[in-house]
Symmetry: C2
Subunit: 98 residues, 2 copies
DNA sequence: TAAAAATACTCCATAGGTATTTTAT
DNA sequence: ATAAAATACCTATGGAGTATTTTTA
């Protein structure tokens, strides 16, 4: 599972919409819907109750969203830690930025 | 970043080898090396000191490996939680397995 | 010289885009 | 009638495989 796709799910779950987060993420509604559908297939659990006008969290979602959020945050930490690693001896001594 | 690729990094970091985890993961050494190189490009930090005979964790790795492990475990939790979600009213009541 | 990593390709799966259709409101 | 999600189709990117080269222990 790609962490980016899990972010699609989190974004959709937060606003209960597929079209809106797609706009926010500068992508199309179609692939966002499809990636979320992929996740549902992968974990074999329906995560949303869909209708053409609204989207609701499925009952099976209890527990999934918090875990998804935790995973996304863990990924953010990986990136953040990597970015703040001192690269040079001088940086490692905390003397000044590169 | 794909969680699978982060697992490649963790596997390689744990045994300080690219060829061995590739065998364990039933894949080739080439794509495993390439995906790890991708991660280094993505986070813009060298994670390994390479030579043709050995691989060592780069200095920049301090902090990265633990975070990577945490992220991988968070992903495991996502899958696990999803898999244990009760699907039907009967399951939700804990009466018996599907 | 043997084993491991890098490199150079080839191929295919899939993520994303575009267009359209369906369906609640 | 409108707006949102699903669906169909196309394309291109990139992940994985295979083969080969390089390197160092």
């Amino acid at each position: 599972m790609d962490s980016r796709h899990l972010r699609y799910f989190v974004a959709a779950a937060e606003v209960l919409s597929f079209a809106k987060p797609a706009r926010d993420l500068h992508m199309n509604q179609s692939p966002l819907s499809n990636r979320i559908a992929d996740i549902e297939l992968e974990v074999d659990v329906p995560l949303f109750d869909r209708s053409s006008k609204k989207v609701a969290l499925a009952a099976a979602d209890q527990g999934f969203l918090p875990q998804a959020l935790a995973a996304v945050r863990a990924f953010d930490s990986v990136i953040r830690v990597a970015r703040t690693v001192p690269r040079s001896p001088i940086e490692r001594l905390g003397l000044h930025a590169a």
